[in-house]
Each structure stands twice: as C-alpha cells, then as structure tokens.
Amino acid sequence: MKYVDEYRDGGLAREIAAKICAEATPERAYHFMEFCGGHTHAIFRYGIPDLLPDNVKMIHGPGCPVCVLPIPRLDAAIELAVTHGVTLCSYGDMLRVPGSRKRSLLKAKAEGADVRMVYSCMDALRIAQENPEKEVVFFAIGFETTTPPTALVINQAKKLGLKNFTVYCNHVLTPAAISNILESPEVRELGVLPLDGFVGPAHVSTVIGSQPYHYFAEEYQKPVVIAGFEPLDVLQAILMLVRQINEGRAEVENEFSRAVTYMGNSRAKQVVADTFELRRSFEWRGLGVVPYSALKIKDALSEFDAEKRFIVDYRSTRENKSCECGAILRGVKSPRDCTLFGDPCTPENPLGSCMVSSEGACAAYYSYGRYQERTFATDQSHPAA
C-alpha cells in the first residue's frame, strides 16, 4: 500500500531509534505525551517502547474520543435507543463501552433495542432515507477529524428534506484538551507530571492545520511535533522533540508535512463553522469540565439536533470509586496504578473506558504492556534497540 508500507520499514525504524538513543542525553529524562489515541495504538502495536532508550518515556494522553465521553452522555444515547425507541446508529468503537449500571449499546441491542453499527455517518443517513417511518439518530463522536463528515451529513439531510434524521452531537476539540492538560495542577506544579513536549495528532491536524499549536509552544514553552500515523512518523517525531529539548527550542514542527499545512483544510473548517457552534462547557471523563471544548449543532439546524427533538434525562452518575480512568487519561497515573486493572477490569469485562477502547491506555497496556512487565522481571537489561 502506497504511502503506508514505506513508513513502516523496520530497518529505517532501527536507524531512527539508534539516533534517538545517541542524541538523548543520559543525564536527563524526556517525557513526551502523544495526544492521540491512534498514536497510542501505533506505539504499542509496533513495539516502539522496545526501541526507545530508558530515559525517553511516552505518556498517553486523552486523545481518544471514546475514552473521554462522560458516562451521562453515553447513558443518554442508550436511553434514546431503549426508551425512545429510535434507530440508533453508532460507530463500532462505542458499542461496548460500559455506561452506568453496566449497560452498553451492545447489551441494549441484545435486549431488543434497534442499535446499528455504521462505518460512516453517511450510512446512518441512508438508513434514515430507506426507513422514513423510523426515527434515526446518529451518535456522533470524535475530534476534529470526524467532525467535518458529520457536518456534511447534516447539510445533506437538510438538502434532502429528511424529517426523521437527527444527530446526537458529542464532537470535542483538541486544542482545548491540550490547554486543560497544560493548565492542570499536576503539570503546572513540577514533579507530578513532568511533560516536556507533545507528539501532535496526525489527522486532526490535516483539518485544523499546524497553526493552533503555536499558542501552546509559545505560551507554555513546550515543543510540539505533529506526527503522521505510521510508526516511522512517530519515531521521527520523537527524535525531533529530543532535538528541540536539547537545543532549548519550543517550536511547532510538522513531521506530517505530506498531509498537514499551516492552515489545514479550509473547506472542512468552513462547513464545520457553518454547522456547529461552541458549547460553553462540556464535561470530559477524566478532565472534568472544560470550557469551550465541544460543539453543538447551530439553532438554524436544530431540526437535526437529537437533543432538541428528544428529552433526554442527564442523570449524573458515580463512576466506580476505584476506577482510575480519569487520572490515566491525564497521564498522571499508569494502568498499573489502578487497583481494578487486570482483576476485575479486563478487556473481557471492562469497567472503564480506558479498557474497552482498543487505544485506551489500559487496553493497550493489557495487550502489549504485560509482556514488557514480564521482560523487566526476568531480564536484567531493558530490551531496547
């Protein structure tokens, strides 16, 4: 596959890793946060921690829209399917996430609710067209990558004059989340969460461009390197971050230059701006309430807003007291620090979102990281490149 395979070359990976090992000064540690869940997944899937030196550590950030969706919002989606009897269309990612009282969309489907998995929001639109007697709700989640398709589909629904299609909008914004992390006490007060720089999201950046990250680099003096989705991209970005730290720079660099420009995709940004507006605040699982961090559908398009068409009861719920998803999402704790990790919380029986999403830190750690734990225990040396 072109533009994919070349960026997965094992030989080149070892060369870049060797450079990282050579250039990371042994006297200090480097802590970089990869914001995106997709990067977390790639890091574990390709065994990148194996290739990095001991003093370069990756912290897994909250860039997984599945992981940060608060329970009341998921409960509301389940309620739409169960109580309001709508045909609820959802991306595969959300189907197994546990809401309160151990319910999930998949369990609701097993009990008779009309829950359908879709690969794309345009499939939800098609279901609405083909079933005019049913109320169809599309459960929209995702960061800026996924928002333009939702915007297009709402506009398409308007053009078609559909009366039975609405969107339950949970789109969230990357810069706001990065701000929140940088502003958090754990980062601002030294020691708890040492954070030296960010590996910036790949596909979000193709839409928003590299421009929004300059604020963080300047204001907080943290380097940001936007990295492509492939493992060589991630390794190269880590090398570039190490160099910035060594040279005392705090800039925005773009490793994913083949798809990311300074301004991003203006058509995409325009259609999003025409369709959505900012919510004053939105509660994120783990991060708490973050101002201006999420989108809702504009009033002019309220006939397509599920929250206007249906009354949904947002009961706030208690998370399992021992669940550490919040702290893990902020990078403050590691999965091992959670008393529920591994027993009883496992991918087969997930208690929190970090374990159910395939790129949640806990799931990734459970699948790939347990091996490394054991390697630490049995070998004296760290199996780096």
């Binding site: 596959m1 533009y3 398709p149 999201p201 596909h203």
Partner: protein, 82 residues
C-alpha cells in the same frame, strides 16, 4: 486523531463522490472537502470521506528525512520521482 488511510483516486464519479482504491480494494468515497481533485491523486480517507490530499513531494522529503540524507541527495530523490 482517528483511523484514516491514504487511498488513490481511480475515478471521479460526480461533484462529491469518487471511486478510491487501496491495495486492490475499491470503495466509493465522498470528496466534497477536496478542491481540484484529479484521478491519480492520493487522499487521506476517514469514515468514507476524503480529508486532505497527500503531497507527493513532501512524502518523498519525509522518507528522505528518515534516512537523514543531505539536502543534495533529497533533491535527487524528488527529481527521480517526477
């Protein structure tokens, strides 16, 4: 950031749709967000929508960067690709 993949545009089907190919699998995708699309272009596809074009020169430059060749050799590679 989400799961997105580079695909090649095989055929432009209308104002907003095109047939894309990835590794021999063909899929109809929405291209409303791309300006000046041409057959042979590569775009990044996410949930059935094209989000951005891939710049072939930048792609080559990035690969050369991985191998950390000097500026002169990078130029050779780009010229050879054209």
């Amino acid at each position: 950031m989400c799961l997105a993949i580079p695909v090649r545009i095989e055929e432009i089907l209308g104002d907003e749709t095109a047939m894309a190919d990835i590794g021999g699998v063909r899929k109809e995708i929405n291209v409303a967000l791309i300006a000046d699309l041409a057959v042979g272009d590569f775009v990044i596809m996410h949930v059935g929508y094209a989000l951005n074009k891939i710049d072939p020169d930048e792609a080559e430059r990035t690969l050369a960067l991985f191998a950390e060749l000097d500026a002169l050799s990078q130029q050779d590679i780009i010229e050879a690709a054209e």
